[in-house]
Amino acid sequence: MPLDESLLNCVDETVLSRRGLLADSFRGLAGVAIASLLGQDGGTNRLWAATTPQPSGAGTPHFAPRAKRVLQIFCPGGASHIDLWEHKPSLEKLDGQPLPGETGVSTFQGKNGNLMRSPWPFQPAGASGKMVSSLLPHMARHVDDIAFVHSMYSKSNTHGPACVFMNTGSIFEGFPAAGAWVGYALGSANENLPAYVAIPDIRGEPPNGQANWSNGFLPAQHQAVVIADHQPVRNVAAPSGVSADEERATREYLNFLNEKHETQHPGSSELRARINAYKLAARMQLSAPEILNLNAETAATHRLYATADPNPLKAAYGRNCLLARRLLEQGVRYVNLYCASRASGVDGLLNWDAHKTLKADYERHLPIFDEPTAALLTDLKQRGLLNDTLVLWTTEFGRMPTQQEGVPGRDHNPDGFTCWMMGAGVKGGVSVGATDEFGRRAAVDPTTVWDFYATVLHLLGLSHTQLTYYHNGLNRRLTDVHGNLLRQVLA
């Protein structure tokens, strides 16, 4: 074809060498055609999609970081602190008695009855002897690496706002998620992949859906790209009915038009940025199917993550855990991994929202969560990734120590709950803060989501007061006007 010569030799050798591998996983030959379009300017586009000016984060932290990337595991529905992580012997002793000072108080869904002990015993785990629920046999093996924060409290007792609050620091929609802030600050470490990925659960999106991984008022390139084992990246597959030859010829002609147009309109970095965006898109088209190809993993790894578990929900979550590791390994900055979804129909069926049948609900959810999550942590550790990966476990709020009036379940409790951190820069085997005797309220060192993220940013080498973006009247921060470092969790 009589095309510009330069187009025909702008082939990225490293990508082309993967042809054989890709042929299976990517709609036959179209992927190969795309590979031929890749330019050689990869080094100049270190930031994935960072083609609009970045006023604050130029990809460099404010000071030496402990962590390079973050995995945030989220259990939507309000996972009970007093049934999972924070042992309350008084609940066992005073089971069935009124909650002192707060008899019959009304919370989110209505009136509360008497104190209710956890349906399962707690057991000591690890060298630290941390008491955790006996329904967490696999996670129990990691407690010596975890810093528990038992004194979290939230501004909202409603799933949607509280979920968004936990992810963005605001109960209102329209604010950037922590992952978006980190992507804005640090960019991507892998030009072929986005900086920020959200992996929703196979059961659906969390409460308030996409507001949880939104770019908010940050430019749109900072939103999370949604990838899951059950849900490939949107629009990443070449259109069906277009042959590899046609695809290649079309893109070559497009590139020819754009290059020509640019020479006639010099001085616009935007035109060049868009030409590069097409090349980056092509790289994503190649790398996304590759990263989603879990078959590249050994049988032992699959066994570890329980990806073939007879419980399809557990197997699906296990596959997403494995995907999370692959993404982190490839340099994705921030991964949101969800275990469960928003409520739909019956409380507690699709997520951790155990209003009426705590025992049945958690005997459904805990086995899904426990083994694959523990496998992911084990795998991160054995591959050395924990050295520079920060792992967070979060939920929107905790649950009441009392039962809901007349039913064996617990209502929402925004006044006290547990989150935890692990990995890069985090001291293991510690428990920071505490709720009161019954788990009703944060009592020792009450901690906000802003404190939590001030610490996360700190571990990433970012000062939470300096990471700002102007929006509607203010230089906004992930930590609003708050945030105190949780020094006790720092290694």
Binding site: S243, Y253, H261, P266, S268, G473
Partner: protein, 761 residues
């Protein structure tokens, strides 16, 4: 107070005797101590904001706090927390620099001397800007600069006053403007600008061949008269008023009766409804057009923001959610009309602008009776008649049910008659226009934004921010709910309110040039950008008022200017001075907005259905139980081939192409879209089935126009339809090779993706 004694003053010449509560040289406290507390403490520790219960703003509060033990500096909490202990940094202040040694010593001496506080002295935190801030001053009576004889004004730059303002600033910055754009570029620019669509080939041919001196002016008049104008500029306004068609938050159900507001906006723009009228209808449509759906529909403005409808049995949380709902209306209103971030004064006085927490709550009590709800809108008599017939029907039905099991034929007959009568009445439209209730007479400042803490009593009133220039009003707590909103609307558009017209004309400028004279169109405060051309801004605002708040004359004035008609070409020497083109030495090129892009693809493929109005179409699959789920659609049918302004925009629902190209989520008022360039855009443009479908349809259109046999004519037509020009020789040759091998679709797909298609020069 214990241990009163003299405090040897910190200023050598001044001695302050703290005896009997009287102070000698009391100014020492004001000059030496109060500034420390003001600088370091009071921003957080004042009664209106403090959550820890400690206020350091007034004498009685300090005395009650126990933080200061007069005469005992070492056991005073205040001194302990601001002093470092060994290596430990001081515990306070949390959010600013630690106190200096000198400042700590001054506090020590003050406490040691008895910690006296002049009677009634209150320490207030000052905002960074006061009421003399530029945007709060009256509109200047600016006249366009005269172009002196020595200036080398380019041809035509003296006639339009706008050009004289612009030229003066260009010359002050050592810049000169570009020559005029060529006619094809100019037509494409102004057609996109005013209608959101490209010109047709016929329009292009007509304009480029029209030698008449008023050729351009006739184009402008045609475009401003086009119904497409309202669709384009109405879309801009829908961003500003954060118009969304789902409830947002966790539930996020679709709202199916908000679209009449979108149509009302489009029609209002097309009819060039005076903007003061539009503002009044937005806030108080029931007051100025009660019972008329065409007017009351404006009230959708109040309630089209996100709202939490989950419900909450926790009484405090429930109050807080309600307060958040009112807060959303306050923010939307103050940002859209005033360009002020009044929302920042919810928990404390605004830190940057002269907006008091009391001002926020004046608006709160103005909107305290507004509830997110639907309502039947019709003349009162009609609603009453229907209600009466329905009441009679209910009574009869009850009687029938009570009588016995067998239906009474007489009652059956009467019921049927009532049904017939009801059926004859016109059906009142059910609109998302809110429900209004009379608020409690007593309203209070919520201390620190906390609904459980009542501060000073407050009534509906204008903002003190503008009290020096705009006639204020204050209503009693008994004022009717509707009156509260109507008074606010009248105050917003009163002749002496400088902000509303300034903010409005700046929005116009922003959309015409891609950047406002004030680059932060919804923030005219301290944190916003300063105007590049303040005199021009005020001159335009006065033009707006002189035109009776109509926008079309202003649009015409702007697009007829030489400033607007310049070429967009970049010149090296000018780029070095002003790469952002803020001084307008060229027309700043721009990327198509999301809606313009989708509309244009449909338009060039010959598929755009120009039907106006009615319920919106959806580019997602919607499912709901207690919460809603939105899944983007791969395959879309012709029912979606309408302009994107008619898409039913749900919140937190990702829509291919539109979301990718920065269409906002409408979670909050959007005053400017940040245009991004991302691989996700490329993926959507290359791979979404819609694009392939359109490439096929465009190819069919090309073949139909050019004939199926003549390949070189096909290439020419494809270029003309998409780019409005014929291909260059090498483009033609390469395109023919592409078509020969892969058919027309491949060429069409490349053309729809190319930069030239996406950018306006």
């Amino acid at each position: 107070m214990r241990f009163r004694r003299c405090w040897i003053a910190i200023v050598a010449s001044a001695v302050w005797f703290a005896s009997g509560g009287d102070c000698l040289w009391a100014g020492v406290f004001e000059e030496q101590v109060a500034p420390i507390l003001q600088k370091h403490c009071v921003r957080c520790h004042q009664s209106s904001t403090d959550r820890s219960g400690l206020s350091l703003a007034t004498g009685p509060e300090v005395a009650a706090s126990g933080a200061v033990e007069p005469g005992e500096p070492d056991s005073s909490l205040l001194l302990q927390v601001v002093s470092p202990h060994g290596d430990e940094p001081p515990r306070m202040p949390k959010e600013s620099q630690p106190l200096s040694v000198d400042e700590i010593e001054k506090l020590r001496q003050w406490i040691a001397a008895g910690a006296d506080w002049p009677k009634d002295y209150v320490i207030r935190v000052k905002a960074k800007a006061d009421r003399s801030w530029w945007s709060l001053r009256p509109l200047a009576d600016a006249s366009p600069p005269e172009l002196g004889a020595h200036t080398t004004a380019p041809k035509g730059w003296g006639a339009n006053p706008i050009d004289r303002f612009i030229l003066a600033q260009l010359q002050a910055n050592g810049l000169r403007p570009n020559p005029r754009a060529d006619r094809a570029a100019l037509l494409r620019r102004v057609t996109y600008d005013l209608t959101g669509l490209p010109p047709t080939l016929a329009e292009l041919a007509e304009f480029t061949n029209d030698p008449a001196p008023d050729a351009y002016e006739r184009v402008v008049d045609r475009l401003l008269a086009s119904p497409r104008y309202g669709e384009q500029w109405g879309r801009h306004w829908l961003d500003v008023v954060r118009f969304g068609e789902s409830t947002g938050f966790e539930v996020n159900h679709l709202v199916d009766n908000a679209w009449p507001f979108r149509d009302y906006i489009i029609q209002s723009f097309n009819a060039d409804k005076p903007f003061d009228r539009l503002v009044t209808e937005h806030l108080a449509g029931d007051a100025v057009g009660g019972g008329d759906p065409a007017v009351e529909v404006g009230l959708t403005f109040l309630v089209c923001g996100p709202t939490d409808i989950v419900g909450n049995s926790d009484p405090v949380k429930s109050l807080q959610i309600r307060a958040d709902g009112v807060d959303e209306i306050i923010r939307a209103t103050s940002e859209a009309f005033l360009g002020l971030t009044v929302g920042c004064a919810r928990c404390h006085d605004h830190k940057f602008d002269p907006i008091l927490q009391a001002d926020y709550h004046r608006l709160y009590s103005t909107f305290a009776g507004v509830f997110h709800a639907d309502r039947n809108v019709a003349p009162k008599a009609l609603l009453a008649e229907r209600a009466e017939l329905e009441a009679r029907k209910r009574a009869l039905a009850e009687a029938n049910a009570a009588a016995d099991a067998t239906p009474n034929p007489e009652i059956e007959r009467q019921l049927a008659e009532l049904d017939a009568q009801i059926a004859k009445l016109p059906e009142p439209p059910n609109l998302r226009v809110g429900r209004f209730e009379q608020p409690a007479a007593e309203q209070f400042v919520y201390v620190g934004g906390d609904v459980t803490r009542r501060g000073e009593p407050i009534t509906p009133a204008s903002l003190s921010t503008l009290a020096d220039v705009t006639m204020p009003y204050e209503l009693s707590g008994e004022a009717a709910e509707q009156t509260r909103r109507l008074m606010l609307a009248r105050w917003l558009v009163s002749r002496d309110n400088p902000l509303t017209p300034r903010v409005l004309v700046n929005r116009l400028w922003h959309y015409h040039f891609g950047r406002g004279i004030v680059a932060t169109p919804s923030d005219f405060g301290f944190m916003g950008e300063k105007p590049t051309h303040p005199e021009l801004l005020d001159w335009l605002a006065r033009q707006l008022l002189a035109n009776g708040w109509r926008l079309k004359p202003l649009h015409k004035l702007i697009v007829m200017s030489e400033t607007y008609q310049q070429s967009s070409a970049a010149r090296d020497e000018a780029m070095q001075v002003d790469a952002g083109s803020q001084w307008l030495w060229r027309f700043p090129p721009r990327r198509l907005a999301a809606e313009e892009l989708r509309d244009s693809i449909l338009f060039v493929a010959g598929q755009l259905n120009e039907q106006s109005g009615g319920p919106g179409f959806k580019l997602y699959d919607y499912s709901r139980d207690n919460v809603a789920t939105y899944k983007p659609r791969d395959q879309v049918g012709p029912e979606t081939f309408r302009r994107a302004v008619y898409h039913q925009n749900a919140r937190a629902a990702r829509v291919d192409l539109l979301t990718d190209f920065d269409a906002p989520d409408c979670a909050y008022s959007v005053s400017r879209r940040v245009p991004t360039t991302t691989p996700l855009q490329a993926l959507a443009m290359l791979n979404h089935p819609f694009l392939l479908q359109m490439a096929d349809l465009l190819a069919a259109r090309v073949a139909q126009t050019a004939g199926t046999q003549n390949m070189s004519e096909q290439v020419r037509v494809a270029f003309q339809l998409t780019l409005g020009r014929v291909p260059l020789a090498e483009e033609q040759i390469a395109a023919e090779a592409l078509v020969a091998q892969h058919q027309l679709r491949a060429l069409c797909r490349a053309l729809l993706n190319c930069n030239e298609f996406l950018y306006v020069n």
